[in-house]
Symmetry: C2
């Protein structure tokens, strides 16, 4: 092709009115404030508590090199070729096996591998949400879920979170509005770090089942516990409540897992566990979304599971992240005004901070960015933008030293604003 | 958690009526006949012409091992961490640069990296298709596009394909029905192998622009030419027709590229090139779909582009696939009845075969599977299921020996059925 004058006409082609062509649902697509804050986080010298990222320096580079080599040498054409939509069978088997504890029986037919847990959220929206459907979420909750389901034109009902997680006593009233499903990050909730107590888990699964409202349980953080005892996932509690002690089957819960927080977000490998007929429907939705998840990435995750490396690595992460959490909590105790409160998390990625009202976290953020510190104001996590006096701090990505330095910078900003408000 | 009788109630929890909860759009989700045929293709001893897969034995395993090692050692945390939704900047730059030839100027802001080209099709559906919108497609066309846009509740208009590709003379009448966009696999069309002539390309882009109907150009196969001269993509032809010889800008075409056919489908890396405001909207849709495409996979593709390996590898594929195409065409000439015709493709993955009417390819498939040969009946590729006397043969996945053997098995089946029909 060479550049030459138009060959077939003499008038210029008209400009294309692209935005006029956009679909109705495109209007509800907005960028995430977190992803916009990530741009700021790339400023040299900034200490960012904004993202929800694992630590760069804890990625097991040597082991990744070795796993890539093993995968490519032994299963090269499987890793590089087209694959089935549901995922590599051996990976689905091992995920099912690991979820099948304490009487809960999960088979490979109950597992769909997804391109990160974000895709699982999106696929669930595709198969369950009709425009105008209501979804019951925790308030605050994960922004990416709100964004994804907004594009499916859902509306949100919300119930607050306290020290024991979702306030289940307030759920029943909301169920009268017939939400399509309940979304819960029951363990080390994003953004609050709260853990739903076992009593509330039992009450929630019974309530949901009685009202025929499914539960979507997002368990991205469940393996990252730094103190206290494990609490069974809603998936297992639901199965337990359904049966009387024998082998249980899946019921009312779709469970979302991910390797993003434990191994690497760059792999983009997550999974859904659920009843086989729902997995089949999710599979059909996934086929049109991206055919299948990278078998190279799946094979690497499988290698790490089979070798036992992942479990050893998670132990290492637990120690490292516990140290960072403690560094943050200690620094906050030293630097933050006494009227500022927070929840000490037993795991996960975040500390949730409450400022004395009417102090607005967005105002604090302006001062913080001027001092080269970033975080996410809490209102971003609520569908109704409530909680303007809250904020989320991530402690897994910055080093303990940077955590101490960043909190030391935040302290005086908070003190000045609290004083001014008082 | 231990197994114990229900703690909080005495009646069994009711079963969940999952299928009653499925969304309207879920009803239009069906499995692809090709992906179902893939199951058959896994039967030991079967020779499959059914899929659209590159050759297993041509994957450059050593180079993949080396690239993984280089990527992880030099950019480990970039490859394993969360990344921006639009793609790794250096990859977007090099994709833009390679598309900027002959007066067409593409910048990184015009490029979105996607999780395979399938995701690009899906994201385009998300931002452009309202339920009931019409899409104008080639007849036959890629099944995955029909499936994806069906889930967005599109309806399809279609125009036939002949030896010069889409019959553009028939397009104008269809444009009166106001389709939302035109979908064209202009080069080495799937499934027909046809190439849209340059004259028709010029006519198509002018027609589309005059009617303000965008074109989605899917160019998964364009680099795999085995004979003849390159024809400029619609993206470039549109830009050329818009301007008068100077630097051109993007206009009416969204261009889809992919590394799946040239490097590895297992990477799941593709891209869209388009006007910056459309890329921004696609980016928002992608954010909710899977946050971003694996930066590990993107980094591997980038490494292969930067080192020049990809271009050398494509040369090697061209030679190998040309040999397979020739083996198939020669074997068909020898074994197929003279009333069976086909199009000799100048590139791509497929030979398109037409049987004498009223012979049905589905009938042939039953006989073929009994002889351990598989292919895809052509009706699967048309939204109106027309073309029951056509079928698609893939020649890139089986070796030349298996191609000869498989065609030799098909010949007598066809001869018997043609005789019976006569």
């Amino acid at each position: 092709m060479t550049v030459q004058p138009p060959a077939t006409g003499d008038v210029a082609l008209p400009p294309v009115p692209w935005p006029r062509l956009f679909a109705e649902r495109a209007r509800s697509m907005r960028g995430s404030p977190i992803r916009e804050l990530q741009e700021i986080s790339l400023k040299p010298g900034i200490i960012s508590f904004a993202g929800g990222m694992p630590a760069d320096e804890l990625f097991p580079i040597d082991e990744f090199c070795n796993a890539c080599e093993r995968v490519l040498r032994t299963h090269g054409s499987r890793a590089l070729q087209y694959a089935t939509t549901d995922g590599i069978p051996a990976l689905r088997e091992i995920i099912a096996h690991r979820a099948s504890q304490n009487g809960l029986h999960v088979g490979a037919q109950n597992v769909l591998v997804t391109t990160g847990a974000q895709q699982a959220l999106d696929l669930i929206g595709r198969i369950l949400i009709d425009p105008g459907d209501k979804i019951l979420v925790e308030r605050p909750t994960y922004i990416g879920a709100l964004q994804s389901w907004s594009t499916h034109q859902a509306r949100f009902l919300s119930v607050g979170v306290d020290d024991e997680g979702l306030v289940v006593d307030d759920v029943e009233a909301m169920l009268r509005a017939r939400p399509k499903f309940i979304y819960s990050i029951a363990t080390f909730q994003n953004p609050t770090g709260a853990v739903l107590s076992i009593e509330r888990r039992r009450a929630l699964v019974r309530l949901a089942a009685r009202h025929s409202v499914p539960i979507v349980e997002d368990d991205a953080y469940g393996q990252l516990r730094y103190s206290g005892q494990n609490v069974a996932p809603l998936l297992a509690v639901d199965a337990e409540e359904r049966d009387t002690g024998n082998a249980t089957s899946l019921g009312n819960v779709l469970y979302l897992g991910s390797f993003s927080k434990t191994l690497s977000p760059g792999l983009r490998v997550g999974w859904v566990i659920g009843p086989a007929d729902v997995i089949t429907q999710l599979n059909r939705a996934k086929q049109t979304a991206d055919l299948h998840t990278s078998p190279l990435a799946q094979s690497i995750a499988l290698d790490f599971l089979q070798s036992g490396f992942l479990d050893r690595h998670v132990e290492r992460l637990r120690l490292a992240y516990a140290e960072r959490r403690d560094a943050m909590l200690e620094a906050m105790s030293v630097s933050f005004p006494t009227t500022v409160t927070w929840r000490a998390p037993a795991g996960g990625f975040f500390v949730w901070v409450t400022l004395p009202e009417p102090l607005d976290a967005a105002t604090v953020l302006i001062g913080a960015i001027a001092r080269n510190v970033a975080f996410v104001p809490g209102a971003a996590f609520s569908p109704d933008r409530s909680g303007s006096n809250t904020l989320r701090l991530n402690f897994t990505h910055p080093s303990p030293e940077l955590i101490r330095e960043g909190i030391a910078r935040l302290g005086p900003i908070l003190a000045r604003l609290v004083d001014r408000g008082a």
